[in-house]
Amino acid sequence: MQQATTAPGLDRSLAERISHETYYQTVFRRFRRHRPGFISLIFLGLMLLLIAVTPLLSPYGPNQITSAFSAMPSAEHWLGTDQVGRDMLTRLMTGSGISLFVALLATVVSTLLGVLLGLAAGYFGGWIDIIIMRVTDIVMSFPYLLLVLVAAAIFGPGMWNIVLILGFVNWPGMARLVRSNVMSLRGVNYVQGSQVAGMPTIYILFKEILPNTIAPVLIYATSVMAQTMLDEAALSFLGMGVQAPTASLGNLLNVAQSYTILETKPWMWLPPGLMTILLVVAVNFIGDALRDAFDPRNLQ
């Protein structure tokens, strides 16, 4: 039992370092092994960087009107211009930024709501649980896009409303996930031990239970984010989402509802469409990599 206590950092073999690494170090080490996921993470990072520097590098503002209307891609406008003469590349990058921002924020809103309500439902049970679960049933009964469209019609379209609407519509799935996790954790010894130790409920919920549900929450959140990006795009495409002149991936595609533009000016709709696919695929792959990295079956 008695062991010589060595100073930390000395005489530690790699194996011991690995056996000693924190949970998140292990997860990251395994995340990197998922090739598509890791590439997606780098791609997303690069995209964010490009989006951030676009205002500095681009000679045009995203809403600045130039003299070239519906111009083909050229040296001045790498991806051409739209019908009113705005630079497509600048708008594409700005729009990607807006779309990512909307999706991320909506995901944060729905995750926060879902986690809080799921924790409450799972931990307290009884009437709180019944009410929260029936509300999730009700919200989930409405076809998702319809609910979003109706809400957008009533509260008015626009970026911030879309964030809130998508956030408020998406929480039930998260709430159910967290609830079922909490219900199984509630009976686990270390949670009961904390109860016996007289720790406050807040502590038990957020410091004992929540850290052990982070993995499924993160994985689910990535899928919510991917879905939210698709929904924002569809909503903006239908004219009920982010409103012009603010660019988003969906409303850039709006012009393609006209067959003339669809047929003769592919530079106006092809890049935003492809960009949407790339970004959503990247988020999905990251989610898949997280799933692998967090999987307890290949832990250690």
Binding site: I138, L146, V150, A153, I154, T276, I277
Partner: protein, 315 residues
């Protein structure tokens, strides 16, 4: 068993009520739903008379109750735009959507079941990776963008297929004409849901194959194919039932976007135009209808599940 079904039915009732409350509440934010029932082209005097009759001066709960009573008798009010009963408008548009959704559902399952099972049985093979990756990328494509691309190629470039409506205007109805009109919208819809289905079936198939009785069967020397056919597939019926239930709201959402792009004269198009026109009675009717359909689909799924799976506790 009977008790389980009764219990599920009893749970569905408050949910149904909740749906109507949510529906009513959202619409109240837009205007008075009771007023919406009257319809626009009525004289002021008639409105007042009707208002007194309907109790618009009463508290909101009473109004909701009155609205609920009317709704239960099938009166969902009149469309602002078209001055027709909401029920009639919905009735006129229901068939094309059912056709679109039904066909897409069947086709997507016909693709997803074999692909998902193949993928699971040959886990970690090249084909498995290809199928999973393709389904991943497939479900990352916005359906409207796919629809636009399809129109671009098959209609505008190649001129092979029509891209809007159910029939060619000015011609007599023929089956081939309608079928040709269906290729693109059904194709896009199938594409947009098939990826999720494949992954779901693959995952549940893998789970089933992990189970001990399959290992036992294998150990007893029963052939691989027979193990899968006889034992695994019967249990795979459960996830397939689940998918049918899951699919209904997804297809409904999809139909809004796809009917818009292809001008398919169904409920989705009606919904979109009612939203763009702020035609609240119509919006309200459509959302209520769809929510009820989803609710029934879930209920049927749960009950079928209980019938197929003997291990579910009916408590």
């Amino acid at each position: 068993m009977i008790r389980y079904i009764l219990k599920r039915l009893l749970i569905a009732i408050p949910v149904l009520l909740g749906i109507t409350i949510l529906d009513y509440f959202i619409m109240s934010l837009a205007g008075n739903p009771m007023e919406m029932m009257i319809g626009p082209r009525i004289t002021q005097a008639a409105i007042e008379e009707r208002a007194a009759l309907l109790g618009l001066d009463k508290p909101i709960l009473v109004q909701y109750w009155n609205w609920l009573k009317e709704a239960m008798q099938g009166n969902f009010g009149y469309s602002f735009k078209q001055n027709l009963a909401v029920t009639r408008l919905i009735g006129n548009n229901v068939a094309p959507t059912v056709l679109l959704m039904g066909l897409s559902l069947v086709l997507s399952m016909l693709i997803a079941i074999p692909a998902g099972i193949y993928s699971a049985v040959h886990q970690y093979s090249k084909t498995d990776y290809a199928i999973v990756t393709a389904s991943f990328i497939g479900s990352s494509v916005p359906s409207f963008f796919l629809a636009l691309t399809m129109v671009y190629f098959f209609n505008l470039r190649l001129g092979w297929l029509p891209s809007s409506g159910m029939t060619t205007l000015g011609t007599a109805w023929s089956l081939t004409d309608t079928l040709r009109h269906m290729v693109l919208p059904v194709g896009v819809m199938v594409f947009s849901v098939v990826g999720v289905n494949i992954r779901y079936i693959r995952a549940s198939m893998l789970e089933i194959m992990e189970q001990d009785y399959l290992r036992t069967a294998k150990a007893k020397g029963i052939g691989r194919r027979r193990v899968i056919n006889k034992h695994a597939l019967r249990n795979a019926l459960l996830p397939i039932i689940t998918i049918f239930g899951m699919q209904i709201p997804m297809l409904f959402s999809g139909s809004v976007v796809i009917e818009q792009v292809f001008s398919w004269p169904g409920l989705g198009l009606l919904t979109m135009s009612s939203i763009l026109n702020r035609d609240y009675p119509l919006i309200m009717g459509v959302s209520l209808l769809s929510a009820v359909v989803v609710l029934i689909a879930n209920l049927v799924t749960d009950i079928l599940y209980a019938i197929v799976d003997p291990t579910i506790q009916y408590t």
